[in-house]
Amino acid sequence: MNTITLLTFVCVGLVLLVGMVLFNIMVGRKNRVQFAFSGIDTQLKKRFDLIPNLMATVERYMQHEQQVLQQLTSLRSQTVRGTATTDDLVQMDNQLTSALRSVFALSENYPQLRASENFIQLQGALNETEEQIAAARRAYNAAVTDYNNGCEMFPLSLVARMMRYRTKLWFEISEAERQNVNVKGLWS
């Protein structure tokens, strides 16, 4: 085997190796995005699962707030059916956030409810889930940023183009959620 043939083999080998590394990096980033999205999904489900308990607690006290309670029940049953797409899920989450905020705001008119141990625990659990959802969204956005950088920056962009990977959208919060909510105020 002469030197030129050997060099050709070495070069081809190197190109294949670099290609394989780049391919694995892009697949890893894509999987991280999916994993991060499943994190949001888990937290959203956790929040949906708290609704029956919340309903059972508040129904006894807030009988005059049927509209809000019905909205909560309807949102919950939509998710239980399991037919929602990702976009639907995001939209339902936004609606649920706003409905839950209404419940906690209205609860101020029911001192007995606010004093209930069960309600205090549920409010704590919902606050916690709310922050976990926010954290999961931030983790998702960080994964999407990494993935999008790969799609747009050389040399990973070559691999992304070959694999037909497209940039993904960040998980953005709704306009209503952008407004500052004083959780402490609702609590006290």
Binding site: G39, Q121, G124, A135
Partner: protein
């Protein structure tokens, strides 16, 4: 309440008498030290003079005089350290009784080595010591802290060859600091399961090799700290944008520090914290309120980490 107001309050509630008694002890110790200095100074001169008159080499006489002088200095230094400990044992609990009710202090104790290791911030030390342990509940947050000195042993080997070609190998033991400063632990207000580390310094290209690096959104925070975590979501759950701002503010007041979230507690290791922060100035009257104000100022700086990190807000499932 400010430090000044707290000290004024404590002085009216028993601390004044304690400080007067301590000042009496201080004057006695200082008087004793002066006598020791005179005795040992005289003894050193007498030793040197005697040896010189006896015809011994002046270098030997000087060395003997120096040894006598050093012994005297050591005795004085020990007496001063004992006096400082007495001040801490008597004055600090009295100060805490009014300024931070429910807190207790143990001058010779420190945060346990197990807890220090469990924080995952440093390698396991070969020698571990500490002092000035405080424990109590501030608002709704349980906390404890102390000064800690953790060291690592290492050896150096030197090989000498003499004129005959014989080689001798010497191995010497040395100690270097792993950490020396304040170690603070508080019950965190959120429930978590994993381990998240906030390390000082900006993340470099190779930082990802040392653990699961978390890239956070705040560029100011990322300039000052790098974060590693066993769980990317949990790290963001703990380090909210507001918490990142709080940690930056804490860095301004406390100096450089590293932090870990482990076992539902937050641990802070501040290496820039002075190791003599709680020591009184024995050359200055103990009855001067500035002495206790200085001590209480340091205690407040540490305890108020709870406020700076907003740990008393308990609106989540953990109460």
């Amino acid at each position: 309440m400010t430090v000044h107001e707290c000290v004024a309050d404590a002085l009216q509630n028993g601390l004044g008498e304690t400080l007067s008694a301590l000042e009496h002890s201080r004057l006695q110790v200082l008087q004793g030290n002066r006598k020791i200095m005179l005795w040992f100074g005289g003894a050193a001169i007498a030793t040197m003079a005697g040896m010189l008159l006896g015809g011994l080499h002046w270098g030997l006489a000087l060395a003997a005089g120096f040894i006598v002088f050093v012994i005297g200095a050591l005795i004085i230094s020990r007496r001063k350290a004992k006096l400082a400990n007495l001040f801490k044992q008597e004055a600090i609990p009295e100060l805490l009784r009014t300024a931070l009710p429910g807190f207790w202090y143990a001058g010779s104790r420190c945060v346990s080595e197990f807890e220090f290791n469990n924080a995952n911030l440093f390698i396991r030390p070969d020698r571990y010591s500490g002092k000035d342990y405080f424990e109590g509940t501030y608002g709704q947050t349980r906390l404890h802290f102390s000064l800690v000195h953790a060291e690592e042993r290492y050896e150096t080997t030197t090989t000498d060859t003499d004129s005959d070609g014989h080689t001798t190998t010497r191995t010497e033991e040395h100690w270097r600091d792993i950490f020396k400063g304040l170690f603070f632990s508080a019950d965190f207000n959120k429930q978590f399961n994993g381990c998240t580390l906030v390390r000082a310094g900006k993340a470099g290209i190779l930082s990802g090799l040392f653990g699961n690096l978390v890239k956070l959104e705040d560029p100011r925070f990322s300039q000052q700290f790098k974060v590693y975590s066993s769980d990317q979501i949990e790290a963001r759950y703990l380090l909210t944008p507001r918490m990142m701002e709080r940690l930056l503010d804490l860095k301004d007041s406390l100096g450089s520090f590293e932090l870990s979230f482990v076992g539902s507690w937050v641990n802070i290791a501040a290496g820039g914290f002075p190791y003599n922060a709680f020591e009184p100035d024995v050359t200055h009257p103990f009855t001067d309120p500035a002495q206790v104000e200085r001590t209480l100022g340091w205690i407040f700086l540490v305890v108020r980490i709870v406020e700076e990190l907003d740990l008393n807000t308990r609106i989540w499932s953990k109460q």
